[in-house]
Subunit: 514 residues, 2 copies
């Protein structure tokens, strides 16, 4: 067992032990474990999202004095649960108030915690936040491909496409092996074992043909007495191809990619349990409705100019500043920040992304379609429908009628509230005709139009990562940036939390070295 | 829309509507919806498992008089949740009492509800039993292959094998296409689209080679600041093959088969919520500790001889009888049943199956290994380890240290309790070294040795289904058999429930026709 093996096996290594071992570069994020501060330094934190609040939480443990300035009247930033009573006024002036019934909600920003995001889970554990499974994969949900081909323009159970494609591809590969097309690639012995495996994997028949499978589903399910099962016929490979079901819109992101593989988790009752748990421990430290307007260096130290909730412009001084303001917002703030940072704020692209929550009178997706959580996918603008992973079999329910990105999110975000709702109902209604009779109310978000966010998350191209990122992760005199955009885990809470842990460590080392 | 389409879409068809449409053979199970009984018939039901109790529940709605005789002192039969205080004496005399902490449990029999088992879900809804997700698939859990090869004799994350095998097979198929080995099988146009799809599906590089993937996991995960992600190297295809990871022990049953595809569900707090909900509605109708000893025909009618809890032998008369006693138990009961039924009872094979619950001081699988629910698989006797899908991040936890079948279950079942525990700890300890220090107590089940069950479930071969099954699903004068063994959904609660619905319908029709 190597030292790292040991640490990974026992899981008991603290951040400092690992620093000692020289393991930090390869190490997974671990909870902070630093010595208490002796100096009497004051830190000003800009933003009460996860990066800001977790910085504050750790700094307080170390004995620092601090203030958080937060423009909104709630903590959490992009971790935000939409419930009855939630109101929002978008950039451009569109205002809405959520009319969902009590107990129903959707997570407007962060919704799922990957099982391998250690810090996200660490804080949930530290705060005793009960977790439940976020079902990200559902073979019983639908693909809906708008286009040509026999399987398009109608909902098709995901299991059918998965089982059939697996069947055909495994049959084809078996055939290629039998034709000796792969003799140069793999040893004869391994090919034999591979062949046996492919038969299992594709559920091929004794002739190594795919003739359909119970995995695809039944024409008649087996039941009591004489009701013996009768398999449904498989779809033709050609129909699957022609119907566009090989399009990336239908690729298995949720099954395959590291950050979305099963298992995923969610806090019971809404993701905002996490920011509220931080906020509760930071009582009196957060000034809400305090909009930062200027970030100044006082060499050494910082001066922050902000507008408080009465509209009065105020100043606050500090020894250090942690700025977690998203770049598209930072861009508009007057500051003494380095030109490199300001250039990054100008040019790092952010994701357009939108969600709509739809409340229905009954959970027809469960009652009629046997869909419990998971995602239906489509090449229409709505992109996907997320079914709630809570309150199964309850009376009413809220599903996410769309969660989309890029141009589609921009297009829908530019519509009026009523038009967004209409698109969601029309397109979603093609998958679920029950939309028509069961719909009650909606609440939609276009993150690029949401004040104090102005986008979903930093979306680095390779070149943007090279050109702009390095400036963001270096202290600028006494100012440190934190937030998901200062991490390689953009678009995830874990990125925000890890950046905060890192910046706290950096500041603390500097203070103690002085 | 055809009539069946309509019914399936609206989901509102009753059993009788469907009977009317002549749709029963193809129809999915639907809740019963019959007219109340006018005649004054008395039904004797043998067994208070799901088949017996759901029969009773529906018959009472129809106005029948009835009594259930149940040998055990609890309802539910093979639906049984093991908790602190649970005691069991096996055939052969081994006795154990469960010492789990309050709030910890495992389901000793039925544990998971497939999303497409309508009747199981129907009764949960009818009784307002809260459901949560049973996580049946977890890419973060382990494969452990005992044998030779680089990847054997150590736990390997499932994601690594899945991602690499997918990568290699998609690369190979792509190669075969490029070599024109499949030109006779698929049109050129479809092959092109298939090729593009395979690149996505296998995460191949620009040269259509599999060189590893983030899906496999990281050597160094991306994090804050400069911690850029570094991919782990893929395993060699040869190592995967040689290490036995193509063995059926590691096949993707839980992802693929119809009855185990995501999503699966479980009642919050234990599967026995379902039988107890029935029992509560049958108060006064169930005689517990009433062991049936003789089943007699009184032509017409039945006489049942049983031993009550005081040891007194008693008789009870009825117009009809529904017998849900498992065949291996029925075999030992004196009866006037037809020789066909008695032959079936003698010869239909039942599954050997065992489970062991292991309580640990801490949830190291979650804390150290990031495993939240799901299954690790191995070719050792323990076969699989199930991680609990409830109480995530809690202090202690109970996992299933094995759930096995056939010879393996027989072998372990024949051991003493201490030896079973030892095997579970030794073999499981190879996957989780933490077993050694964290173990607290165990409770093991060998279903073939459990009184009044004597096996897991009816395991029909094709020939047994042909020879023996038909007799079991026909009334034998006034006696009707019900239970999972009288269905094509053996090994599932839905089979028991559907058989009961069917038998109730048959009796009711007969009574009303008379
Ligand atoms: C649609 C969507 C889906 C997502 N899904 C997931 C997911 O499933 N799982 C996951 O882990 N992550 C997800 N994320 C990402 C996650 O939400 C973010 O990475 C994380 O919340 C960012 O935290 P932060 O502290 O860096 O930024 P923020 O949360 O944006 O915090 C910044 C704070 O600064 C405040 N602020 C801004 N301007 C000013 C100003 N001028 N003065 C004062 N305060 C100001 C803001 O109000 C805000 O509170 C998702 C994000 C979005 C948008
Ligand atoms: C290990 C295991 C795992 C399973 N997993 C699942 C799963 O995940 N999901 C799922 O849906 N199903 C599962 N099943 C199957 C499910 O539990 C059964 O199909 C179902 O419970 C059978 O119900 P039943 O009423 O037919 O029989 P039983 O539940 O066996 O009921 C028969 C009743 O008759 C009583 N009885 C027996 N002899 C006498 C006598 N002489 N006198 C009086 N009463 C008597 C018994 O005590 C019992 O209560 C599993 C079963 C096992 C064993």
């Amino acid at each position: 067992m190597t030292r790292r093996d040991f640490i990974e096996k026992t899981g008991s290594a603290s951040y400092l032990t690992m620093l000692g071992f020289g393991l930090i570069p390869e190490a997974k994020a671990e909870p902070l474990n630093l010595q208490r501060n002796k100096a009497n330094k004051k830190i000003i934190i800009l933003g009460a999202g996860l990066a800001g609040m977790s910085s504050a939480y750790e700094l307080i443990k170390l004995g620092y004095e601090l203030t958080i300035l937060e423009a909104r009247s709630r903590p959490g930033g992009r971790v935000w649960t939409v419930r009855g009573g939630t109101t929002e006024t978008e950039i451009g002036g569109i205002t809405q108030t959520c009319k969902f019934d009590k107990g129903l909600y959707y997570n407007g920003g962060a919704a799922r915690i990957p099982h391998n995001h250690k810090l996200s889970l660490h804080y949930c554990r530290e705060f005793n936040i009960p977790l439940e499974i976020f079902m990200n994969v559902n073979e019983g949900a639908y693909y809906y491909s708008e286009g040509t081909g026999k399987l398009s323009n109608k909902p098709v159970k995901i299991r059918e496409i998965h089982a059939d494609v697996r069947g055909y591809t495994n049959e084809l590969l078996t055939k290629a092996i039998d034709k000796k097309a792969l003799d140069e690639e793999v040893t004869k012995e391994d090919l034999e074992k591979l062949s046996a495996y492919l038969k299992e994997e594709g559920d091929l028949d004794i002739m190594k043909k795919y003739k359909g499978s119970e995995r695809h589903g039944y024409k008649r399910q087996g039941g009591y007495g004489e009701q013996s099962p009768e398999l449904a016929s498989p779809h033709l490979l050609h129909d699957i191809v022609e119907s566009g079901l090989f399009h990336p819109a239908f690729s298995n992101v949720g099954e395959y990619t590291f950050n979305q593989q099963p298992v995923m988790l969610q806090p019971v009752g809404g993701m905002d349990a996490l920011p509220y748990a931080f906020a509760q421990r930071l009582e009196g430290k957060i000034q809400f409705q305090a909009e930062v307007q200027e970030i100044r260096k006082t060499s050494p130290g910082v001066k922050i100019v902000y507008k408080d909730k009465t509209g009065t412009v105020k100043e606050i001084l500090g020894d250090y500043c942690i700025c977690t303001i998203p770049l598209p917002v930072l861009k508009g703030i007057t500051s003494d920040l380095s030109s490199d940072i300001r250039r990054a704020a100008d040019f790092v692209p952010y994701m357009n992304t939108g969600k709509i929550g739809l409340q229905f009178k009954r959970r027809f997706w469960e009652e009629d379609d046997n869909i419990f959580g998971g995602i239906s996918k489509t090449n229409m603008d709505i992109t996907q429908i997320f079914y709630p992973s809570y309150n199964f079999m309850g009376k009413k329910g809220v599903l996410k009628g769309y969660y989309n990105f890029h141009d589609r999110a921009l297009r829908l975000g530019n519509l009026s509230l009523a038009e967004r709702e209409k698109v969601a109902l029309e397109q979603g209604g093609k998958i679920h005709p029950q939309y028509k009779t069961e719909f009650e109310s909606s609440f939609s978000l276009a993150w690029q139009k949401i004040n104090y966010s102005k986008g979903g998350w930093a979306e680095y191209s390779e070149s943007a990562r090279k050109r702009f990122y390095p400036a963001l992760i270096k202290p600028d005199d006494e100012i440190y940036l934190a937030g998901e955009h200062t991490s390689h885990l953009t678009a995830w809470m874990a990125g925000a939390l890890e950046s905060a842990n890192s910046v706290v460590t950096q500041i603390h080392k500097r203070v103690n070295a002085a």
